[in-house]
């Protein structure tokens, strides 16, 4: 019974973590950007969906759509207003771009967080679930929405996989993540690819944010922890490796869940953090790191 509970609960959490981290790693893979406003994007999407439902009296699906739109819009804004000006700035040397992008996206994340707090207060919000009720699975009572969340997460990851492996744009994106110069050589417009990737990233972050808002709820305080968790998972899995991220997401999800069940919910995060430190020492480039 306990084993089943851990298995099921960890599965849903892992799926959410995986979805959140996939976009983060995608953006790093293609444009080399560690977007520290990641958590802010997720929370903004969730908050927008919440507001559309409670303030705008929209249905679950419509408000979720509003959340996704906000996610995409903010991701594109992040790219246009923050990342690209820095990448193109003649005053910033190439080797210093990393610190500048980290600092600027952090600040951008704080801006979004403050805007959310001002508009909707810092209280936690929950997006209305797409479906209600609970169901019994092997004797374990699970909210239907939790099952739907896990399914949706995997569906989105699956669609992403199809997009990257089956469509022209997707393939160009994949190619750009391996060798951006090779893409230019073939006359494929890299800047359009970047826009496409940021849009897809926004969509992923939006879906992750809205689902998180349904499943667990978010507040403006979640911005930092969400960014930190995506960052950890992605680094644990190996930067730029989507498979690594998914693996790491489940490792962290199950470790946290097991700690909460078997040790104490008060220590929930500690084993995962220790795991992270250990992996950094043993495999400095993550579980599936390339180099």
């Amino acid at each position: 019974m306990l084993v089943l509970q851990i298995l099921i609960d960890g599965f849903a959490i892992g799926a959410l973590y995986a979805l959140g981290a996939t976009g983060f790693t995608l953006i790093f893979g293609v444009s080399g950007v560690l977007n520290l406003s990641h958590g802010a994007l997720m929370v903004a999407a969730a908050a927008a969906a919440w507001a559309a439902h409670t303030e705008g009296a929209m249905g679950s699906l419509a408000s979720a759509a509003i959340g996704l739109t906000v996610g995409v819009a903010l991701a594109l804004a992040t790219f246009r207003l923050v990342v690209r000006p820095i990448q193109r700035s003649p005053a910033i040397r190439a080797e210093e771009r990393e610190i500048f992008i980290l600092t600027a996206t952090l600040l951008w994340g704080i801006l979004i967080q403050e805007a959310i707090a001002s508009l909707f207060t810092s209280n936690a919000k929950t997006v209305p679930p797409l479906i209600g009720g609970v169901t019994l699975l092997f004797g374990v009572r699970i909210p239907r929405n939790e099952i739907l969340t896990a399914i949706l997460c995997w569906a989105v990851i699956g669609i992403l996989w199809l997009w990257v492996n089956r469509t022209r744009t997707g393939k160009a994106v994949l190619a750009a993540s391996m060798n951006s110069r090779g893409v230019i050589l073939l006359g494929i417009d890299l800047s359009r690819i970047h826009v496409a990737v940021w849009a897809v990233y926004g969509l992923l972050a939006g879906v992750a944010g809205v689902l998180l808002g349904m499943f667990l709820g978010v507040s403006s305080y979640s911005v930092g922890p969400l960014t930190a968790s995506a960052f950890s998972i992605v680094v644990l899995g190996g930067l730029g490796s989507v498979y690594g991220s998914i693996m790491a997401a489940y490792a962290v999800g199950y470790l946290e869940t097991m700690t909460a069940y078997l040790v104490s919910p008060a220590y929930r995060f500690i084993p995962a953090l220790l795991l992270l430190v250990t992996v950094m020492y043993v495999r400095p480039h993550g579980l599936l790191g390339r180099r």
Partner: protein
């Protein structure tokens, strides 16, 4: 050479493997005090790895390095340096925030954690070293304001400050003018006269011939020749590496296209990297369907010129495509004009399959058209057809090169720029590549601008030859004229 006394540096069986690749294979050599030894080899021959092994930057897989009789193989870099080996890196990577004098002082400082002040004696010595290498006038300037030659001087000064017994110098003359080369040469000779041993690393014998006492030639990680510069230049194995064997010209069957209006025309094109002049006043034209070869040793400026044409580096002068200037166009726009660039680095998508790589090349065309071209590519390079599902990174070097060419051709170019396709490839592969190029030439569908250091490979595939040397186009003519006029001088 005083072979009677023990060498300062004795290298035996030195080997370095990176995974499956053997970069340095059982290399033996010795270096005596008061000697300048040249280490030559084409790109990818393992020179740089060898230097890194000596300096402790990479750890050898096997073999021994004796310095003054003591084993230093496997020691970390700072310990090797303290024994008395100094290095001048190929690329200047100056400390951006320190002045010239500070940088030289750095070389004089002991490795102490608690030393705060810099003694007057140190300052005086730093100044003396600066004067010696010709930096006396720029003591308080920062690297960003220095000329290219001064940056090279600074690198040398930093290494000299350590007063090493052995100096490893990687490509000392790249990017320098003739008078600057002479200046550096005399500095090296002076060091030699003081009993220091110098290992000069360079691409070819000619640049260092006047300076070195002895030369070792490396190819594919192995030592292939050793001796006096003139002997090494005459060595059969070395000539094969650089020239690829007997030089032959092959006239094109059918119509040549030299008379047609030029597809690509370069007028007085120059390329600079900061302070280094890589290409100077290049004039060149490629006609419709014409095959033009640009021959020159590594570092001559071929790649820079190609990068200028395809918009990866900015240029001065004029580059015209069908009479229209390309200046200001992005690399993507230029690629879309119909110039396909297949660089020496190949730039394949390693974790994608052969088929996916090719499909990406044909991405901008309609499906049917792309399929046709794919069929043609499989005809041109049959091996690719059987490797379709394999990841590009798992292919052999030759197969990767074929894939790179095929992928470039998939974009339906009117001009294909091929940069060093033979780099590091075995002779058997060269033959296959050669056949494919020949087939391409007979179709008359596309012009080719081929950059090569391997003249034997370049000649049969050319309607015209240009020779490039130190950034300048020094000779042009037909392949058969090249055999008589330029070929003999090519190495020397």
């Amino acid at each position: 050479m005083s072979k009677g006394m023990p060498p300062l540096l004795g290298v035996r069986g030195l080997t370095k493997r990176f995974g499956g690749l053997t970069a340095v294979n059982k290399v033996d050599f010795a270096l005596w005090p008061g000697e300048i030894l040249g280490l030559i080899g084409p790109n990818g021959s393992g020179k740089s790895t060898l230097v890194k092994l000596l300096m402790g930057i990479e750890q050898p897989t096997e073999g021994s390095i004796l310095f003054d009789g003591a084993e230093i193989a496997g020691l970390s870099t700072h310990l090797v340096a303290r024994k008395g080996i100094g290095i001048v890196f190929q690329h200047s990577r100056p400390l951006e925030r320190q002045t010239v004098i500070e940088t030289i002082l750095l070389g004089l400082l002991p490795d102490s954690l608690f030393r705060l002040s810099i003694s007057a004696e140190h300052r005086a010595r730093a100044r003396a070293i600066a004067e010696k290498v010709g930096l006396g006038a720029v003591l308080d300037r920062r690297p960003s304001t220095l000329s290219f030659a001064d940056l090279r001087r600074l690198e040398l000064a930093k290494a000299l400050a350590r007063n090493p017994k052995i100096l490893l110098i990687d490509e000392p003359f790249a990017g320098l003018t003739a008078s600057e080369c002479a200046e550096f040469s005399s500095l090296f000779r002076e060091q030699r006269s003081q009993g220091k041993a110098i290992l000069l690393v360079d691409h070819n014998v000619r640049t260092v011939a006047a300076l070195v006492d002895r030369v070792i030639a490396l190819c594919l990680g192995e030592r292939i020749a050793e001796g006096k510069p003139v002997d090494v230049m005459r060595d059969e194995a070395v000539r094969r590496v650089y020239l690829g064997g007997a030089i032959e010209a092959a006239p094109r069957n059918g119509t040549g296209a030299a008379g047609a209006a030029p597809l690509l025309e370069l007028r007085g094109v120059g390329v600079r990297y900061g302070k280094a002049l890589a290409v100077d006043q290049a004039d060149l034209a490629v006609g419709e369907n014409e095959f033009v070869s640009l021959v020159g040793i590594n570092g001559a400026g071929k790649t820079s010129l190609f990068n200028a044409i395809t918009g990866f580096v900015p240029h001065s002068g004029e580059i015209l495509w069908r009479g229209q200037p390309v200046k200001g166009l992005s690399a993507v726009r230029i690629a879309r004009l119909g110039i396909s660039h297949c660089p020496e680095t190949r730039e394949l998508f390693g974790d994608m399959s052969v088929r996916e790589n090719l499909d990406l090349g044909g991405q901008r065309q309609a499906k049917a058209e792309s399929d046709d071209r794919l069929a043609w590519m499989f005809e041109l390079f049959p091996i690719l057809k059987s490797r379709q599902k394999q990841n590009a990174s798992t292919l052999s070097g030759g197969e990767q090169q074929m894939l790179a060419i095929a992928r470039a051709l998939m974009t339906d170019p009117q001009l294909l720029i091929l940069d060093e396709p033979t780099l590091g490839l075995a002779p058997i592969i060269l033959e296959q590549l050669s056949k494919a190029l020949d087939a391409l030439r007979q179709t008359g569908k596309v012009g080719v601008l081929l950059g090569e250091q391997n003249v034997t490979f370049a000649l049969p595939h050319a309607d015209r030859i240009h020779v490039m040397d130190r950034g300048r186009l020094t000779w042009q003519g037909s392949p058969d004229r090249f055999v008589h006029e330029a070929g003999a001088n090519y190495l020397i």
